[in-house]
Amino acid sequence: MSKTMAEKILARHTENGRADAGEIVQASVDFIMVHEVLGSRIIDILQEMETDSVWDPNRIMVVNDHWAPAPNIQSAIIHQRNREFVKRHGIKYFCDVNCGVSHQVLIEWGLAKPGDLIIGSDSHTTSYGAMNAFSTGLAATDSAIVLATGKNWFKVPESMRINIDGELAEMVMSKDLILKIIADLGPDGANYKAIEFHGPVVDKMTVASRATMCNMSVEAGAKAGLMTVNKQVEDWLSLRAREAHWTRVDPDPTAEYVEMITYDLDTDPVEPMIATPHSPANGRPVTEVDVEIDQAFLGSCTNGRFEDLQIAAMIMKGHKVKEGVRFIITPASMETYKAALNMGFIETFIQAGAIVTNPTCGACVGGHLGILGPNEVAITSTNRNFRGRMGHPDSRIYLSSPATVAASAIMGRITDPRGF
């Protein structure tokens, strides 16, 4: 029988080599990433499970990224517990407060490979679909079970297939495309399902642009977002995962999908998009939104990568951040930060009046370095604009691409980047 990408990858990880949509299977995972939820919850759960060993210290990554470096005592304690756990169990991959946001770092370290089954204690673990891996988020208890056994149960998802033909226009980014797709699907349009993205647009995309789309698949409820291997992925892996063995996974041509959707960007171009409060599925063209802002934020695992900083720097060059507006820029990783520093982007930002912070989740999760006050309005390159996500419940969050964030920071109101 013909198989989807999700079925094929999961089948590689079950004992009998089978995984059909709808079935509940026991699967062995290749890799797990856990962040602060390790220190806050998982360690206690492992204790309750009466187990003090991990299944394989070489296939675990621990990250201190949500509150990095610790802005308060509770976070400091969580970080201490994570460090102690890493030492005690000899965990091979550790990203402490000086290294970056999990989903960016894991890809940078070449740990997401085609065909892999990867679990993270974070909903945006769907990001690694950009590398042709099946990756999904689980919470503390399920992560504890994986840490202890390397296995867990999965319901094999049905899949939907989205084909994207044509080409993205100037100043229109993969973020705009995924905001448009989520607006069309609705916040639960892909609930329990895997989304396969196909077509020339994603085949041409950089790893970063692809990761943005798979990252946000979960905002339509998807269990995973998946893409096939392209040239950029091959190049990325030959540089960063030189020793690793991997085989690409393609869906069978006659695989069954619950839904097939096609976008033709030549006949129906996607414009820069804004998701208005309080749902990532409230996407509308930027031309229909005119709102004054108090804060602009560029960062997160969705859009804090090199190409995101690059386009923002290009737009900022020779401009100033509007008086009264705070423009906060948080590179997604230290590697990104250094690359941006070398290219002079950081200087451009600072000269323009922006605030550049260290890599952290920070403002994205309403944690620190950019919390919103009552009635404040923000435009942000992150993935969620739920009520209260970035601070006060009466603040309002608009999601957009990095280009739109930068243009808006200059104008002090939500602005179409195509004029820059």
Partner: protein
């Protein structure tokens, strides 16, 4: 972990569609290590009076996509700590559904739940039979029983206990 019961009687708290995890518990509270402390902020945004007034075995009724967003297990956990006996929603976000079962909180899907049940009504949920009874009116609402595998986890008292019971030593 409290004892699991297949018959749950309590007051209905009716919420809307898309109650996301930030509405159940905001990210800014996630570094509180003490669940009891965190539970004081449960559903703070949509129902500020909830955490104060909810009683043992009360039932949350919601619309589509309950628990969308973050993978935070704190969301179902603090509801359990406050005594919530069951959540009935039109649909659940995937990770929330899984987390609820893992922490031993029954979750059931009822079509148009928020139109059929009024806030404050007294209800009894019969998990095994797949029925909810509205006390005042005597009306019975049917739902698809929870899949057997997940019922086993609930009966064990959650995934940790289930894991311990099934561990191969």
């Amino acid at each position: 972990m409290r004892a699991f019961s297949e018959i749950i009687t309590g007051r209905a708290w009716v919420l809307g569609d898309n109650i996301d995890t930030d509405q159940i518990i905001q990210g800014q509270h996630l570094n509180l290590l003490d669940y009891e402390e965190m539970a004081k902020h449960a559903l703070e945004i949509p129902r500020p009076e909830f955490a104060q007034n909810v009683k043992e075995n009360d039932i949350i009724i919601a619309g589509r996509n309950f628990g969308g967003g973050s993978s935070r297990e704190e969301a179902p956990m603090i509801l359990t700590i406050l005594g919530v006996g069951c959540i009935a929603a039109e649909s659940f976000a995937r990770i929330f559904y899984r987390n609820a079962i893992n922490v031993g909180l029954p979750v059931i899907e009822i079509k148009n739940a928020t139109e059929r049940i009024v806030d404050g009504q007294q209800l009894t949920v019969f998990l095994k039979d797949g029925q909810v009874k509205i006390t005042d009116t005597g009306e019975l609402i049917k739902f698809m029983p929870i899949p057997a595998f997940m019922m086993d986890i609930l009966r064990a008292g959650g995934a940790i206990q289930y894991y311990k019971n099934h561990r191969v030593n």
